[in-house]
């Protein structure tokens, strides 16, 4: 009984940290969020912002975190079709502030049936340590 209680107490802050997570990034013990600055569109460029943060207060304040030297961020679009899958042109990625990245020239090409996804990966020693998949269009 005491053991269960201790586990609950120990887990409580951790679960709270992810309580309002749109995207959970367990490797960083953090949340991620994608905001569309322009779009998303099919057949024209879209722009988004990707942010990493550890906590969110009731008034919406976020504590943004740096990925540091340990992780490299990779973002790309991916199309899942019935018989095959493929990517698109590269996204232009730039860091605009601590924990905040601008994703420019995101292009979801038209004229195909399938699911367009926005994916981001955290690479550690060139290996994928984390991947998040956001389905943007189901065409």
């Amino acid at each position: 009984m005491l053991k269960s209680f201790l586990i609950f107490i120990l887990m409580f802050p951790f679960s709270q940290a992810f309580a309002n997570c749109e995207i959970e990034v367990a490797e960083l013990n953090a949340c991620a969020e994608v905001k569309w600055v322009d779009g998303p569109y099919v057949g024209q460029y879209s722009k988004a912002e990707l942010a990493f943060f550890t906590e969110q207060t009731a008034d919406g304040e976020k504590d943004y975190i740096d990925l540091g030297q340990e992780y490299d961020l990779k973002t790309f679009v991916w199309m899942i079709m019935e018989h095959h899958q493929h990517g698109g042109r590269p996204i232009t990625l730039s860091q605009t502030a601590k924990g905040i990245y601008s994703l420019d020239k995101i292009f979801f090409m038209g004229g195909m049936k399938g699911q367009w996804q926005l994916r981001f990966q955290l690479l550690k020693n060139q290996q994928v340590a984390h991947e998040s998949i956001i389905t943007v269009f189901d065409l």
Partner: protein, 144 residues
């Protein structure tokens, strides 16, 4: 010194003093510096009307995933560089899959010379290059 040596020196003087062709002497401009390096991937295009001919020079690529760049040199029937009334557009297209790729950027470098960048072949396969210029569509293919 015999007459042959004098003849060779005389000709060498002219060859050395010629310098770069005005066509290729634009090294400060993007893309043109490598016009001289023709490869088997370059293509010749001809208008249906017979009014112009064009030559495609790949500066980067064509290859899959990375950015490709090419220059288009347009000449009239007399071999003189000529402009189109408006900027040409390039649309790479995969007929087997029924889709293209992201928009290609085109820039006029000088009379009759156009530079295309941000060409992304997003997957291997048969690509049809659709070039719209001067009211005509000209196609050629790229297999990747």
């Amino acid at each position: 010194m015999n007459r042959l040596s004098l003849f060779l020196i005389y000709n060498l003087f002219f060859i050395v003093s010629c310098g770069k062709s005005p066509l290729f002497d634009h090294t400060s401009e993007t893309g043109l510096e490598s016009l001289r390096s023709l490869t088997s991937l370059d293509s010749s295009l001809h208008s249906i009307s017979g009014e112009w001919n064009a030559r495609v020079y790949w500066q980067q690529g064509p290859l899959v995933f990375d950015e490709c760049q090419m220059t288009l040199m347009v000449t009239n029937k007399n071999g003189e560089l000529v402009d189109f009334p408006s900027l040409p557009t390039l649309s790479p297209w995969m007929p087997d899959h029924g889709h293209g790729t992201s928009p290609v950027i085109v820039k006029r470098l000088e009379k009759g010379i156009y530079f295309f960048s941000e060409i992304f072949f997003i997957m291997p396969g048969f690509w049809e290059m659709q070039l719209d210029m001067g009211g005509e569509r000209v196609k050629w293919s790229v297999q990747l």
